[in-house]
Amino acid sequence: MKQPLNLNINGENRLMLVEPYYSLLDCLRDEAQLTGAKKGCDEGDCGACTVLMDGKPVTSCLVLAHSAHDAAITTIEGLAGVDGLSPVQKAFVEHGGLQCGFCIPGLIMSATGFLQDNPDPTEEDVRFAIGGNLCRCTGYQRVVEAVMAAAQEIRETR
């Protein structure tokens, strides 16, 4: 039976009725109507469902929705501010770090979480940080270039 669940999503408290066996991903997509996080594999391989919990990237398909009540959850929908796209989002657009787009919300969330703690990464660090995100289009090169460019912008505007 559905149970009440209060989640903090993108800075907003959302009270929802959620099945006890729902993953955070199912809750975000089906109950919160936030479909930016994608369901690729539903078993923690592809990273398309990556969101931030308390600033840390997690595969939301492997989180029990009801266990997440104490966490601040950030999805791709929560990144853009009044000034427009976030530095990582902007860099993906400018560097062509996307093709079909299915994996991009997950990649951008992984990169965002990573750059918060590591604003001055090597290219190798970036590749390691996005190792849990599969992309079948880009070949990753432009994704890595975008993350490096975003890192530079974040450093310069800090």
Binding site: E43, G47, S67
Partner: protein
């Protein structure tokens, strides 16, 4: 689709009570990363899930020279990977942690959960074996300590009795002048289950010979395994290339690999020997030369097929 109810104990006693009440219909979860995958594929069908995430006091990660490293049940693999003491004093465990899945899963998955799921291929398990891990197991009748070697009894099977909870793992302080490494071999690297994993921890005495040797292998037997005979071959000997190679050969010989989607049995045995040799060589070299930089450990920890 199977369904379950979700319970969230606020104390260890409450969790033990829930397990006692619901018995075989219940399943304990920590990070839930293994659980949700196996529930979706129908392998596990509990009616009740007891989630340990909000039980206070289980997330500690502490070190001191007398007691060694204490890893609480809710310590995540990422906590281990990022910890500077783990990186400097337990480099094989740091390597196992960094080889584990991807950061999104490491932020959820716990080390104790990796132990309790008892996959032969769990990436933290060979290193925990190589550091002589002891496990604290709590039940309604009190607590007991069990060496990790006795925890694994089969693929996915542990010595924990129904209703018991593993709350802590302790690793003794490694001897002075010791080094270690874990290497995972898999096709993709990230988010991939190991085809083979090997951890070695070696300490070098004042005479330049190996004072203690630990070799543990993953994914080449029904459980993660220590290669005791291979260790004995190297203890008291100088860590020459020949001695290291012979010890690695014995380690691979002691393995009992199966063939599955990730590797053939003979390939696994061959790779086990290669990884045992590489980890032993690195362990012996860094025992005298000082621990490797973590960036180097990260590079060495995952060796993919291509």
């Amino acid at each position: 689709m199977a369904r379950f109810d979700y319970l969230e104990p606020q104390s260890l006693d409450e969790a033990l009570g829930m397990l006692e009440k619901h018995g075989a219909n219940s399943r304990l979860v920590a990070g839930s990363t293994d659980f949700l995958v196996r529930w979706r594929t129908g392998v596990w069908r509990p009616e009740i899930v007891v989630c340990m995430q909000h039980v206070p006091g289980l997330d500690g990660l502490h070190f001191n020279d007398d007691d060694g490293l204490s890893i609480g049940a809710m310590t995540t693999v990422q906590d281990i990977e990022q910890n500077s003491i783990v990186r400097s004093r337990y480099p094989a465990l740091a390597a196992g942690a960094t080889a584990f899945a991807g950061v999104q899963v490491r932020n959820l998955a716990t080390v104790v959960g990796n132990v309790c799921n008892a996959s032969p291929a769990g990436d933290t398990l060979p290193a925990l074996l190589a550091y002589d891990a002891q496990c604290r197991i709590v039940g309604s009748n009190g607590e007991r300590w069990l060496p990790l070697t006795e925890v694994f009894v089969g693929p996915g099977q542990t010595a924990l009795a129904a209703g018991e909870i593993m709350t802590e793992i302790r690793l003794p302080t490694p001897p002075p002048n010791s080094g270690g490494l874990y290497i995972k071999h898999s096709p993709r690297g990230a988010m991939d289950i190991s085809a083979v994993g090997a951890a070695s921890v070696v300490s070098i005495g004042s005479d330049g010979n190996c004072a203690s040797v630990r070799i543990a292998l993953g994914a080449v037997a029904p459980t993660p395994m220590r290669a005791f005979g291979a260790e004995g071959r190297l203890v008291g000997q100088p860590p020459t290339d020949d001695n290291v190679a012979e010890s690695a050969r014995l380690a691979a010989q002691a393995s009992r690999p199966i063939a599955d989607v990730r590797s053939g049995a003979e390939y696994r045995r061959e790779i086990a020997q290669v990884l045992a040799e590489r980890t032993l060589r690195h362990a012996a070299d860094t025992a005298v030369g000082g621990v490797a930089d973590f960036d180097d450990i990260r590079r060495l920890a995952v060796q993919t097929t291509w």
